[in-house]
């Protein structure tokens, strides 16, 4: 019961603190003010960070779905033994610390890093390219960590797609590609929707990847919050940024809901 009390208040606490006035001398004044929000939403620098965060969410979601969908499809078509092995391959990395995996990516993508060394020795690159500090690096780091979360719901949806329906489509003369595009893919959309919701939420909330792979040149809401708390010590502003992040993420998810509903017009009929 004690725990319930601890949980019920986090968002309320966040909103409350976000209404404080920042005062370096004392901890904060109690007169509520909206100036933290005004500062956040009135400054193109902070709006840019919010936009970058949401863009990162969209790009990562698209990239993860592209990589995860074939994996889910393969999982439904392979013998059980191989399927178990593949599940293990997907799940074991989840239990390894995010910091460790991101450190691995820093070595791979850095300068001099593995990618740069290989590309230069192959003669593809003349000069090493700077990957760390870009959106590409952050997306790669996120996709690797979040892939399993996307494969699971898509696999679950695909597993319910009746083999008889696919067979029927083939019997009617549709080729494998037509069957996939018109039968399998549409029927798996609920799983894709669930995966997209999860991946987007995880991506905009990610902290370690933007902090280490993006750095100061790729600041997002979470790294802004951390900087405000630990460097600037402006807690009310950090709280306001947290509320904005939650609101922005929620609004984006609602838009995504709309989009998926438009893609599945038969949903209401079935």
């Amino acid at each position: 019961m004690l725990f319930a009390v601890v949980f019920a208040i986090p968002v309320g606490l966040l909103v409350w603190v976000s209404l404080w006035r920042y005062d370096p001398a004392s901890f904060g004044s109690t007169a509520p003010t909206l100036e933290n929000y005004a500062r956040l939403l009135g400054d193109s620098f902070y709006l840019g960070i919010l936009g970058r965060t949401l863009l990162l969410g969209v790009v990562t979601t698209a990239a993860t779905l592209l990589v995860a969908y074939p994996m889910a499809l393969v999982l439904t078509r392979v013998p059980p033994r191989l399927r178990s092995a593949l599940f293990l391959l997907l799940l074991v990395p989840l239990l390894m610390s995010v910091v460790v995996r991101v450190f691995g990516w820093m070595v791979i993508l850095g300068n001099p890093g593995i990618v740069n060394t290989v590309l230069m020795s192959l003669g593809i690159l003349e000069q090493p390219v700077r990957i760390l500090g870009s959106m590409t690096a952050v997306v790669v780091g996120l996709v690797q960590v979040e892939m399993a979360f996307a494969v699971m719901p898509i696999y679950a949806a695909l597993a319910t797609v009746n083999a008889d329906i696919r067979q029927a489509s083939r019997t009617m003369g549709a080729g494998p590609l037509t069957t996939f595009v018109h039968v399998t893919l549409p029927l798996s959309l609920p799983g894709v929707h669930a995966a997209a919701t999860l991946i987007f939420s995880l991506s905009v909330a990610a902290f370690v990847q933007p902090q280490l792979l993006g750095g100061s040149s790729f600041m997002v809401m979470t790294t802004l919050i951390y900087e405000q708390v630990s460097v600037t010590l402006n807690w009310p502003f950090a709280a306001a940024a947290g509320v904005i992040l939650l609101t922005g993420a929620l609004a984006s998810l609602l838009v995504m809901n709309r989009l998926f509903r438009a893609l599945q017009p038969w949903e209401g009929i079935r």
Partner: protein, 270 residues
């Protein structure tokens, strides 16, 4: 011929995925045994130098101890209270119960950094900031949902029937709980405890706000080390962490399967 081509394509895709998912961790492991003072891949030579360095460094040792202590303490707290809550929740009527479960699960839905921020505000408001138990309690808050879910899932099976049988045969409620209920849900409790330990041991988003110079958890020290220094000692400590969490992952897989922990997909092969 086309079938063969498709199979080769699938195999290539799976190998690429394996490299993508396991590559970063393998790279870190390879770096940890290189004898030079910087992170280089592929390793030239073999040395345990960085392992000795980490194990002889008082700061690394302190962080290892702190992280182990916090993970152990918080998982003990969470497992006992979580099991009690799960057993108790079953007795209530459904509407109230569903609401309570939703509240207890909320740290799963909120971004980790936001939960961390709220926990920081909470401890600051009650004037407990800097106390060592704040880290333990903070970790307990975020690992609680996992234990609750696992124990609750274990309970929902046929336990009620067996309990009723025991009561009919004359066993007291206490005897029934310890002799019937507890053995039936043992794997759920154990899985929850191990999972809580791993989550706490790897946690960044709560620790980053509650750590102070006297108390730095292992992942936070790794994070700082990667950002400011970057000697291969961080690869050595990371490898040790992977071995600890990897071993625990195997333990879970042995007990009940990783998939059930992630609320995943029923696997007919099992």
């Amino acid at each position: 011929m086309r079938r063969l081509g498709a199979q080769v394509a699938i195999l290539a895709y799976l190998l690429a995925m394996a490299a993508f998912l396991l590559g970063p961790v393998l790279v870190v492991m390879a770096i940890s045994v290189n004898p030079f003072g910087y992170s280089i891949f592929p390793p030239r030579g073999f040395s345990m130098r960085w392992y000795l360095e980490v194990l002889n460094d008082p700061q690394w040792r302190a962080s290892i101890g702190i992280s182990l202590l916090i993970a152990l303490a918080s998982s003990v707290i969470v497992t006992t209270t979580g099991t009690m809550a799960a057993v108790g929740l079953r007795r209530w009527n459904s509407a109230f119960r569903d609401g309570l479960v939703a509240v207890l699960m909320s740290p799963l839905l909120l971004p980790g950094l936001i939960t961390g921020l709220a926990i920081l505000f909470f401890f600051s408001l009650v004037g407990a900031l800097g106390a060592s138990w704040t880290l333990i309690l903070g970790h307990a808050v975020i690992t609680y949902p996992y234990v609750l879910r696992l124990v609750y899932a274990a309970l929902s099976r046929d336990t009620a029937t067996y309990e009723e049988a025991a009561r009919t045969l004359g066993a007291s409620p206490v005897v029934t709980f310890f002799q019937v209920t507890l053995p039936l849900i043992r794997s759920g409790i154990f899985g929850g405890a191990v999972f809580a330990f791993i989550i706490s041991f790897d946690n960044i988003t709560v620790s980053i706000f509650l750590s102070n110079p006297r108390m730095v958890t292992l992942p936070i020290r790794i994070l700082e080390h990667i950002q400011w220094s970057g000697t291969p000692s961080v690869a050595a400590i990371s490898t040790m962490m992977v071995v600890v969490t990897g071993g625990m992952a195997l333990l879970i897989e042995r007990i009940g399967g990783l998939q059930s922990v992630f609320g995943g997909v029923p696997d007919e092969s099992r």
